[in-house]
Symmetry: C2
DNA sequence: TCGATGTTTCTACAAACATCGAAATGTCTT
DNA sequence: AAGACATTTCGATGTTTGTAGAAACATCGA
């Protein structure tokens, strides 16, 4: 992961529709979802969704696999880990004691009850 | 953290100069850096840097504090944690067993030896 | 091979954004 | 109060991006 790849990945996520798609696929897990189903779920035309999915794939945040007529998209957790690691590299001058628990992200936990926070 | 706040934060990071600034501040840790020093370090005019720092601050990714003539910027780790948590909420249908170690981000670790990866 | 279904490419345009010089604002020293 | 220093706001310009309809492409079932 280098700086410009990270910018591509962040830009891919920095858009309402694509962020919604990404989070939908995060929730879907390894099974992923097919393109048409994603478009329907989010509520945008197929051409628009195709464009967004291509952007996410170019950013290495999702991967696609053809299943006869359908194309199934799943989150690329490796790509995601690369991005997060890049963002936090050498945190606090490489001294974890200064900030390690600040990043105890509740990965894979249900969202907190109530609001989306 | 809601969807549109997350988009604002991701958009703030999805830009070469701002991403470089953010990572610089991540490395700087709690001490942060003053605006002029950041601009000099990155190599952009003060007016441009001011614009970018304001964007990062609006996104809750950094905080600023005036010190007489200088303005010191530091990473807002709380804001960052909120963003990462939002991205990964309900990962794999809330079943950590499916993906938990996929997100074992080496937070606060030195970047891997060699290239920026 | 034909028609149906699912997805992508093409195209065009409006809206949002990055950049940086100049001027304005805030703060310190004397 | 004046001048120096640090930073922000303003203004103008060129570039990038999101959107979605129409057409093209790929795959399947009959």
């Amino acid at each position: 992961m280098d700086q410009s790849r990270a910018v591509v990945a962040l830009a891919a996520l920095a858009q309402e529709t694509r962020l919604a798609v990404f989070r939908l696929l995060v929730r879907a897990g390894p099974e992923g979802m097919v393109a048409g189903s994603i478009a329907e779920h989010i509520g945008v035309p197929g051409s628009t969704m195709s464009h967004h999915l291509a952007t996410l794939e170019r950013a290495d945040l999702v991967v696609s696999q053809r299943e006869s007529r359908l194309i199934r998209y799943t989150v690329n957790f490796d790509g995601m880990r690369g991005l997060l690691g890049f963002l936090m590299a050498d945190c606090c001058q490489g001294n974890p004691a200064l900030c390690d628990d600040l990043l105890s992200v509740p990965a894979c936990q249900p969202a907190l009850a109530g609001a989306d926070r």
